[in-house]
Point group: C2
Chain length 186, copies 2
Amino acid sequence: MAKRVLKHAILGLLRKQDMSGYDITSEFTKEISQFWSAKHSQIYTELKKLLDEKLIEQYIEISGVKLEKKMYTLTEEGKKELAQWLMHPEQIPETEKDTFALKVYFIQYIPEEKILPLFQDQLDQREQKLSELKSRYQLIFAQREEEIGLGSDELGHYLVLTKAISREESYVDWLKKSIRFIRQKR
Amino acid sequence: MAKRVLKHAILGLLRKQDMSGYDITSEFTKEISQFWSAKHSQIYTELKKLLDEKLIEQYIEISGVKLEKKMYTLTEEGKKELAQWLMHPEQIPETEKDTFALKVYFIQYIPEEKILPLFQDQLDQREQKLSELKSRYQLIFAQREEEIGLGSDELGHYLVLTKAISREESYVDWLKKSIRFIRQKR
DNA sequence: TTGTACATGTAATTCGTTACATGATTAT
DNA sequence: ATAATCATGTAACGAATTACATGTACAA
């Protein structure tokens, strides 16, 4: 049986407030996009399935003159399903796919003069991303970590942002260490 | 156009030595499984495609009395394709899927008494994995990092193993920090 | 002889992306 | 007016897993 992660991601987003497919799509460009995302085509398809399963219900909201926004709301069943999923422990995956690391595994087949540029390019991209994440952290949470309550809707945001920062810091550290290691070999 | 990562992973594995589909499948249970893997069904299918594309060639090896092992070898075209792929810089992905982090984003909907057990379960699993990775590192590379040559087939292995260790250490650190953060809130 | 590992494949299904397709709203 | 954003959908394709299916080799 499949894991249906997107299903539960959508239920989770709808738990906070009713949303349209479009709204859900744009949530997946925000913080949570660091750890899950989907294209609108997959989202609209999944919403139909969730309606079938009676985990969500649809109602129409008129925007402007005649644009019909399809809003979705969790049913009691949907809330229960989400709660069950959230409480169930996750097995950590054996594989966390990373194309750059895969290439590094084959490093002996990369011409020597191309190796450091490849690492440097990754490092630039990862440092860029890390600096964006840190800016967001500064903007939203710096000097007010104490204010974040256990049941607040900020806690989840805070924790995944610190997770993303930690992940990118670790990536940057490894890249720098590897660059030093390789340089020292030449 | 699609990225065809598995295609290049297989070419990379065959670059070192000829292998059967079964051999390739078992490579994906070793070190590289930290960063890429595939089931045998997908591998046999991909091998057929690579034959069609003339990037690999097949020959038969007899094992025992009559078991025909289908061995694959890179063509010149295949070597070129691999070299091109390896030299081409990778865009870092905007999303690195992580189901546990997704759940954490929805932490406000997890009953308070279930939160720490969920984090503790993740921590146990990650620490277990980290300790296995460190054992492998000790066994294979400890006290002989200087011996690893730039063109050697150990370098790739060394770098991905240190990458995996770095990733897991970062995960463990974040889990511990988060547990402290949450505990301090109660 | 019997179980485990070796060995190869296809079918069905699900998950995910890209491309195709259309139309309304809003800010410039 | 017109461009950007809002808004919803389907079709085609590709990537990946699970299930189905079969047979050999080898060691205990």
